[in-house]
Amino acid sequence: MKSSVIILSFFATGLLFGVFRWFPSILMTYNISFYVLCLLMFSVGISIGNDPTSVRQFRNLPPRIIFLPLMTIAGTFLGVFAVSLFLKNRSLTDCMAIGSGFGYYSLSSILITQYKGIELGTIALLSNIIREVITLLFAPWMVKYFGKLAPISAGGATTMDTTFPIIVRYSGQQYAIVSIYHGFIMDLSVPFLVTFFCSL
């Protein structure tokens, strides 16, 4: 819980700085966060390569983990289905299309705006940003109560880039390969599933 509070406070401070524009414009024009992410991924790589046991740990992973993307999809659909019962002004297929973004907000919001208009596209953008943020903030809590696969499922399509470092930090280095595999499969499925639910 303590780590979630630290993470939350960094994020919240950032939000404040963003809303009140307390930052030099160079931060946005040069996309500094991308370079920080690259440096972070490089560091995570070093920590994996530097640990002599990590390769052995990959091999000890149970083969059943390949079904994790299916669990992510099924769990998301069930959750979204339950909520759609309470959202009277949104159809089930609209909700499913938004859920099918799995945190991949740039692609899913563009697709949904194209197919269904700006309002649903904006909900898709917000909803999928929130999914990424929830994963980043609550990853330690998820590991504690739902096991080491939980933050990977929560991260959806983002688990091979933005949420990857935090997953490796809290689930452990042997789950790095699971996180990348999961992110790759989910990335591929986003355009198909979003298009499918928008066409219904």
Partner: protein, 91 residues
């Protein structure tokens, strides 16, 4: 995205080459960079006019869908985790 993965693969290679030397500060560097990245993510979201302006109107629906979808997948991942653990205990 593949650029980002390329950085990690390069890191693994560098870490492997240096495996005789324990790079003990790397975990401290990782957590510091995670905090920095979360701060920057906050700045980006906070500075995004569309997100901030629309949040009051569409944010509630978006929040419900996001948290339900995330929670559903966390539960299902937990179920898969349980089957793995039970198998290991049985061994």
């Amino acid at each position: 995205m593949f650029i980002v993965l390329g950085f990690m693969v390069t890191g693994i290679f560098v870490g492997y080459l240096l495996r005789q030397h324990k790079i003990s500060f790397i975990h401290l560097l990782i957590i510091t960079l995670i905090w920095l990245l979360l701060f920057l993510l906050g700045v980006e979201i906070g500075a995004n006019k569309t997100v901030v302006q629309q949040f009051g109107v569409l944010g509630f629906d978006a929040f419900l869908l996001a948290s339900a979808g995330t929670f559903g997948s966390v539960i299902f991942a937990g179920l898969l985790w349980l089957t793995l653990r039970n198998k290991n205990i049985g061994k």
